[in-house]
Symmetry: C2
DNA sequence: TATTGTTATACTCTATAACTATA
DNA sequence: TATAGTTATAGAGTATAACAATA
């Protein structure tokens, strides 16, 4: 994408949803343009992150945490396992479930990805004061409905 | 999607980009689930909206306003023209440009879509005070870089 | 040379529907 | 009956690369 900054058009400027989509697009583009060739996507990184923090977690649990569909989660899991970053193991407790675990390559990839996310966050947060960051997260949370862990 | 509300997982909860993606996803889903069968997508509606407000506008100008690539804009334009909501006319002034205009069906579709957007905005904004709405837009604008029209 | 549109191509994300195995 | 995973399928959005026509 050319890095042109254009004015928000009148009319659409009053639509909150429009600003959310634009902001999301800007974040999406910056991440891909800056780190796209060296790390997994943001969504894939989120999945690796959750599996790393919760070894043996099931697909359906990740889908709930990331607020995506079961079939969507399936597709992402397939991509990650095809690339040998993650593996499915049958749960000995509930044989309907697949326990997810990172491979060694997955651990390495997540390490690099976490560094990319950290750099990306610096870029993103640099335009806000700490108070504004807290405020923004608080407002966004009211949209997506996720509760902070206590 | 099942309408489960799950806790934001620890670790990821500190990532601002994660909250933006989650909020965007929630907005995207609500719009599609509520109006997906009767109106164009949010992005397509944005394009129809801009063409309606700026008859004869070019693809590249819309791409700049919506902050998307030329080829992406091409794909969206194709979809809209294939569905007879919009048409390309060669500009008599600059023959490299295609002047975009809504068809009669496009005008009708946009009318319905605008009503859907309005209802969707009520749903979205209902969780904020007017002051918070202004604050949120102001913060999001710092991310996507679009300037308000004066 | 630069801009606009175009085509070809590819990948990610999203979801619905229906089916299998298990609880 | 309900849950987890799966497969098949489809559509939207995103982009890069290269080319043609025009300015």
């Amino acid at each position: 994408m050319p890095d042109t900054v254009a004015d928000v058009p009148p009319g659409l400027d009053d639509i909150l949803g429009f600003h959310i989509r634009l902001a999301h697009g800007a974040v999406y583009r910056h991440f891909n343009e800056t780190f796209g060739t060296i790390v997994p996507t943001q969504k894939q990184t989120s999945v690796l992150w959750l599996v790393s923090d919760n070894p043996g977690i099931s697909q359906i649990d990740i889908a709930r945490l990331l607020q995506i569909d079961r079939a969507t989660m399936m597709a992402i899991t397939n991509t990650l396992t095809d690339r040998n970053l993650m593996e499915r193991r049958t749960s000995p407790i509930d044989r309907r479930r697949q326990a997810l675990h990172l491979t060694a390559a997955g651990v390495t990839s997540l390490t690099v990805a976490r560094a990319a996310v950290a750099a990306h966050e610096v870029w993103l947060k640099s335009r806000f004061t700490p108070e504004e960051q807290v405020q923004l997260v608080s407002l966004l949370r009211r949209i997506h409905g996720g509760q902070a862990d206590q």
